[in-house]
Amino acid sequence: MSIQKVRSHISPNEALLFERSSPGKKAYQLPELDVPPVDPATALGASHVRAEIEGFPEVSEVEVIRHFTRLSTWNYAIDHGMYPLGSCTMKYNPRVNELVARIEGLAWAHPYQPESLSQGALEIMARLESALLEITGMDAVTLQPAAGAHGELTGILLIRALLEQRGNPRKKILIPDSAHGTNPATAAIAGYQVENIRSSEHGLLDLVALEQSVTEDVAALMITNPNTLGVFESCIIEAAAVLHRKGALLYMDGANMNALVGIARPGDFGADVMHLNLHKTFSTPHGGGGPGGGPVAVKKHLEPFLPVPRLKRNGEGWALDYARPQSIGKVRAFYGNFGVLVRALAYIMAHGGNGLRAATADAVLNANYIRKKLEPYFDLPYTLPNMHEAVFSDERQARQGVRTGDIAKRLIDYGFHPYTVSFPLIVHGAMMIEPTETESKLELDQFIDAMISIAGEVEAEPGMVRTAPHSTRTSRVDEVKAARKPVLKWTPASP
């Protein structure tokens, strides 16, 4: 008799909260009111007072904790194992960072409390600013943007402001075809047209194509370095010179900064403006998709345009400076994702300068090790030396009708999160693997063994790989159905 999965186990069958609800159940306690109660209709006007919130949950405390604990078991996380999503830099999230972000004086600080009672928070921001400037080689940084794409927008608005001041904001942003989707979307939101540049046969920025494209209409080039193949753009200094000669600027997407910290600084190779992803390079938790942090660092000529407020030394302490007439304004209320900034600074402090550089070297070594071990089994379309990630193609496996997405799903059965699927777009059937410095040789070898085993399965049992995963609570999900007739909220079943 074979052992079968039991679908009636309560944990994988946890219902939605709304289905668990019954009238009168409650999980909250409030203190007894120490002031006279107020009649809502009298205070607010009867027309402003709502009826009960239809359908809102009514559950007990233990039901709340069990509900979310059961749901949590349906997730994969870094705490389970390797999460080699290329370009996402899924590294370990140190738990001390969670603790310090919850220290009362920090977690309960109100953004409008007096500056004299905010010195601790401002000092943290100032210290993080100075660390980020040393790491990037730039001249000034704003911590206000809430995430990477938000940082991109801020950066492009700074470029626009500078060019406007010089008399012409220009029309176009150049973007290599290997770029993240946020780059062209950002350019459009900032009011620019996008012109794509084809990568060279080696997957690099094509300097000749760049020279032809840079006209008086071009505001900037947005480039990720190392690029999305994990390859350092070796002609970056020359590219910056081409742009600068024509009065255009170099925007660097810092998504792959984990390959550079302590090794090379964008400020030293010609970047005028860049963003950092604190949730990638600086270990703040991704949390299932946010919060992030997207500081933007600039060279001196862009500094006057940075969002308000700016930190300013004021005698003995720190102050917030709003008197910045050339500023692009605000991109977010208040001062940024402060709680994320706290965590990023804690990470930098734990590592120190040498530790940060060592982490970079480990991340690059791990990626090269994977590349070397998997090269015999998977097609490697671009062969220049790579840094923190390696990008394979599914070309060999596609002959058996198995695509990158199928191999990714099969990895789940081996206990790993998939790599990044089908990106960058310049690689056919891309498999983009970024191990980060977090992984030990033991975990890397287990991952490599899994990939090699899957390569064998593709030859022997392609149908089994195409229908993976087979060991998860939820089997392959019908995404087409979800999009065809969107059901975006729960409604009670009709009687």
Binding site: P57, H180, P307, V331, A483, W490
Partner: protein, 422 residues
Amino acid sequence: MLVACGLESLEELFAHLPEAVRLKRPLDLPRGVSEYEIVDYFRRRGEENAAGYASFLGAGVYAHYRPVLVDTVVARGEFLTSYTPYQAEISQGTLTSIFEFQTMICQLTSMDVANASMYDGSTALAEAALMAARLTGRNGLVVARNVHPEYREVLKTYAKNQDMPLTEFGYDPETGAADLAGLEREINDRTAAVIVQSPNFFGVVEDVDRAAAIARRSGALLVMAFTEAVSLGILNPPAADIVAGELQSFAISPSFGGPFAGIIATREKFARQMPGRLVGETTDTHGNRAFCLTLATREQHIRREKATSNICTNQALIALMATVFMSVYGKQGLRELAGQNLAKAHYLAGKLQPRFTGPFFNEFVVSTGRRSPDEINHVLLGERIIGGLPLARFYPELPDTMLLCATEMSRREDMDKLAGAF
């Protein structure tokens, strides 16, 4: 591992980099420190802040009690250390909780569709304005001056580069509510969105229905912002076309201004112009209920420069805090919580001179009498109380006023002390 890679030293990994780009010195940062030293450093910084003060600041960031269950849930590594749920089969925990979040936001706002959250309320409002422009094919924005000043500044930053003219209309000097006659003057056939906030920055509950009627007569959409989500426990959900709000009040620490979670909710017919992530229900190959990210053809990773927004992340973990909060309080609790806020604020207001006559929830503007707002706040600091926000900073025409907020955490004795300083 080096041997396997055919290398002799770690430095060789970087040998292919051009000489000119390489940093030839160690980073000039202090050496790494231990866990204890890190905790000690941040404790000290916390002590330099206002720890242990009673506070009456609101203005978009509110002090509400955070039920213990909230951090218990979000501290779980399965939620904390997972990525965006693109791989649905191993992300059902996050996806299911977001689906519940979207449902609760719809219930709360009486809207048909809510997204999986935005960076915060201010950026949600800016994105809602851009959304209204796409939906109407118009580009004008007409904004009430009693919308949160920092939200308006963010809106200006976004609107300016989209070539969207933004005009403002005032407020009634008696009631503190938006001046709807002023709105009638500013609105025209180029107006994409009329933007009001309720309760507004002065704490006054707006007549959103009337503003919406004016907007619709001109073919514009009504966008309603909110900063105090607890108010929705007691206030009628708005008759808006798009709701853009901030959920900080739902168990999200003030944290010096972030991270927070914004929302956008709207009517069904507008859903495809929404920015941000959406989770939808579907089935797996065995026919079991499952959830996945959906309608991604609106988003940047598919549509690139034609996307509805450049937004990539949402605020999943922060939205989860709000989801747990809403689950803990539930139907009855949110109402009772809102009732306590209402009672505390009205108790405090009863001891002072409210500047406006419009109905208010847990915030209100007071006129300061013999002492200036700064003097009053200075006196209060001596009693370890942080007073209100002097409004002259944002509204020069309102000197000698401050914005005060009372929540369920405001103690009667502190309110009495506060009133005594006026």
